[in-house]
């Protein structure tokens, strides 16, 4: 197991990604994801030219 060293300043908060901060309804590769875009349901990420 790799040991990880963090900046030693204040308290540290780790966030999980999938189903905590984001949801992967899209099954493609992460490199396909472009920039966030606002929709009527909040912010979504856009996959190339296709909104998901």
């Amino acid at each position: 197991m790799t040991v990880f060293k963090l900046d030693d300043k204040v308290k540290t908060l780790f966030f999980d990604l999938d189903n905590t901060l984001v949801s992967k309804s899209y099954k493609g590769h992460a490199s396909d994801i472009c920039f966030p875009t606002f929709t009527e349901n909040g912010m979504c990420l856009q996959v190339k030219n296709k909104k998901i």
């Binding site: 308290k11 908060l13 780790f14 999980d16």
Partner: protein
């Protein structure tokens, strides 16, 4: 892929109180790509821990063992995860959150932010979690029920 409601607002507030890292059981490439999207100006995240930093059980579960961090004490680290087994080795450092899939009315991150701000000044963050979340007691109770049942 979608961003959970209040995610950016929550992260933006919490950067004032914590150093924030991603800790995912996904690959390094995925973690970095999503982090770049969520935080293109690198103002929120200080870095990412990923699959190679997790312990994998025989049954294929990934555990996020905070002892991997060698210059921080466990009393000053928290992990927010929808999978409670992720912080099984340090249950009092964990904050469970309901999994989010696509509900646009989800407010969990909004509520969680209030709690995280409230406990940010605690000397031992685990004591605050013990008092408010009582996950250790829940584990003991569940274990006792399993023992009684068998």
């Amino acid at each position: 892929m979608s961003l959970r409601p209040f995610a950016l607002e929550a992260l933006s507030v919490l950067t004032k109180y914590y150093e924030i890292y991603i800790f995912t059981s996904a690959t390094k490439e995925y973690a970095n790509r999503v982090m770049d999207i969520l935080d293109p100006e690198k103002r929120i995240f200080n870095g990412a821990l990923h699959r190679s930093h997790c312990c994998k059980t025989k049954k294929g579960f990934y555990i996020k063992d905070l002892r991997i961090v060698n210059n921080k004490n466990l009393n000053e680290m928290l992990i927010v995860d929808n999978l409670s087994h992720s912080f099984a080795f340090q249950i009092d450092n964990g904050i469970p959150i309901l999994p989010w899939y696509d509900d646009p009315n989800d407010c969990e991150l909004k509520y969680l932010t209030k709690y995280l701000v409230k406990i940010s000044k605690e000397k031992d963050i685990r004591e605050a979690n013990k008092m408010h979340l009582k996950l250790g007691e829940l584990v003991k109770k569940t274990m006792q029920e399993i023992i009684n049942f068998s």
